[in-house]
Amino acid sequence: MDTTNLLEVSNLSVDFETDQGLVHAVRDISFSLKPGEILGIVGESGSGKSVSMYAIMGLLAANGRIGGGKITFDGDDISRGAFPSEKAYLHHMNHIRGNKMAMVFQDPMTFLNPLQTIERQITEPLLNHTSMTRAQAHERALELMVQVGIPSPEKRIHQYPHQFSGGMRQRIIIAIALANNPKLLIADEPTTALDVTIQAQILELIRDLTRKSGTSTIMITHDLGVVACLCDRILIMYGGKIMEAGTDREIFYSPNHPYTRGLLSCINNPEAEEKELVPIPGSPPDLLKPPMGCPFVDRCEQAMKICKVRMPDITHLSDTHSSSCWCNEVLRRQAVAQTAAEKNREGGRA
């Protein structure tokens, strides 16, 4: 195992108990994150992208449970199995969250307390996790507000969340998240609720902060544009599984998985002159009864019989690029057959 990784997730599964039965939201996913890296997790609704992050942070809803897997964060095993009791696990996670690990949510108002001033809310993680005095925490809060670009912090620190606009609230959330210089920042669709011009401001801010402080960031989004502009490495999730992983250029310029290719062809690149959008037919799978094989099989143009019954193994296309698709096995067989044929031909000639 590479010890330089900040976060290492292996074989993580998450299930939810619902009225209709067990929903397998995340099934057996593995990935890692290096210090200072911005990782994008792309997927549609129900792909398990947010749930897997909530599982890592220990923030699953009451009916959710981690089905198995190992999570190592900063050299520290934080999977549920590593703790003797639920209480010990939650206690440890409370200690890590807001301290070494922080999260930015899609809707700032679900996270901000409408009855407390911004000062209370920014200083809270400082007072909880460090030995700072109130005065020091106040100074640090002002500093953070400047850092995330909130104008006239001395005045605004005493205001309440409703007195800020959506973009400003998101900045406050980022300030709270950054309070204790976290090693890992998880951003769950932080710009989805914002307008394009405000989104550009927030993305710029996240990029700057990551570069300056060396924080690793996981960016959960459905917007391929956002990952392309921000992320170093990308995971593509579908139906609770990771379909493809690679660097930004590998994913965008040489996608391997049919789902990734489908996604890229159905987003519209306005720079290119008039081209028809090629949508992916059908709709996402029912996670109550996840398919035995590849979750994408019913929408895939290249689906084969094997896809229906067995999940493909991960094929490593380069050090950083991997994909789970049976098409790679087909290609391998073709290559083998070709070499064999060439050998035969050579043999025949000789």
Binding site: G167, A200, H222, G225, E271, P279, S283, P284, R299
Partner: protein, 326 residues
């Protein structure tokens, strides 16, 4: 028709009274401010802008959900702002609307069959039950759904499928003009393309005009023939879609375009952005003169006056500094 345009909107104002309580001072939001544009039959006119810019209010004013304060809306030569009775009922068959949220736009207590036959009941079309059933089947096929779903309830369908049902419902009355109010923004990426292609195909077959309202200027450019850009209730730029996209003239259009995250890492990461300072002003208290002047990098004394819409090549732009670069 008198040789004019199919849809002609002139000097439209929509004002909301948001006064709280009986005795508080009057508070008015000027949601749509002196907006004029035209749409031809069978054409798609895209309307873009950020939240609160008035684009949805404008769409809702056309179908009569909001009453405009002043101005004219002419569709097919007929002034539709003062319709009632029989002529209003007939107007409903001409103009329809597709809504943003596929989860909220279908009545959860009605089956798909009931939802699709409701327009026929209201307008007395296809009077026999058999004919209605046949028409429902035909509508479902048009939007790519299986006809055996008629007895199901909306919650059994995914977002994209519900949006198809919404589209089928509007088609039930054979409209010639459909207002699409952010029809794809609540959908997943892979589904958005399905809906866009469906809308395009329907337009081709039936020669329907669209007013396509969205905040995603990329998608709007893809589907529209012409684009209008709105900011704080004002229309700031109108032109052919690729003209506006590739050669924007208004500084706000330029900033909006440069803010789009392009899904191409090499272009996206290296591109120089115009990052606008600050936030959109509150519509309760708009700036005097040009609405964009508080955030505009070019703003100066001249911008205290409201700029007029002027023709520049194939664009119409409302700006005092069209020829300066940002």
């Amino acid at each position: 028709m008198n040789g004019g345009h199919y849809v002609e909107i002139s000097h439209l104002d929509v004002i909301y009274d948001v006064t709280k309580g009986v005795f508080s001072p009057k508070q008015l939001v000027h949601a749509v401010n002196d907006v004029s544009f035209t749409i031809e039959a069978g054409e798609t006119f895209g309307l873009v802008g950020e939240s609160g810019c008035g684009k949805s209010s404008l769409g809702r004013a056309i179908v009569g959900i909001n009453k405009p304060r002043s101005g004219d809306i002419r569709i097919n030569g007929q002034d539709v702002t003062h319709l009632h009775g029989r002529s209003l009922h007939d107007f409903r068959r001409e103009v329809q609307m597709i809504f943003q949220d596929p989860y909220a736009s279908l009545n959860p207590r009605m089956t798909i069959g009931e939802i699709l036959s409701e327009p026929m009941v209201i307008h007395g079309l296809h009077r026999s039950p058999g004919a209605r059933e046949e028409r429902v089947t035909e509508l479902l096929r048009t939007v790519g759904l299986k006809p055996d779903h008629v007895r199901r309830y909306p919650h059994e369908f995914s977002g994209g499928q519900r949006q198809r049902i919404s589209i089928a419902r509007t088609l039930a009355v054979n409209p010639r003009f459909i207002i699409c109010d952010e029809p794809i923004s609540a959908l997943d990426v892979s589904i958005q393309a399905q809906i866009i292609n469906l809308l395009k195909q329907i337009q081709k077959e039936r020669n329907i005009a669209y007013l396509f309202i969205a905040h995603d200027i990329g998608m709007v450019k893809h589907i529209s023939d012409r684009i209008g850009v709105m900011y704080l209730g004002h229309l700031v730029e109108v032109g052919d879609s690729s003209e506006v996209y590739f050669h924007p003239l208004h500084p706000y259009t330029k900033a909006l375009l440069s803010a789009i995250p392009i899904s191409d890492p090499d272009v996206g990461k290296s591109r120089k952005r115009i990052i606008l300072e600050g936030e959109i002003p509150s519509p309760l208290n708009p700036p005097a003169g040009c609405p964009f002047s508080t955030r505009c990098p070019l703003a100066d004394e001249a911008c205290r006056r409201m700029p007029k819409m002027q023709q520049f090549g194939s664009h119409q732009v409302a700006c005092h500094h069209v020829n300066q670069s940002v």
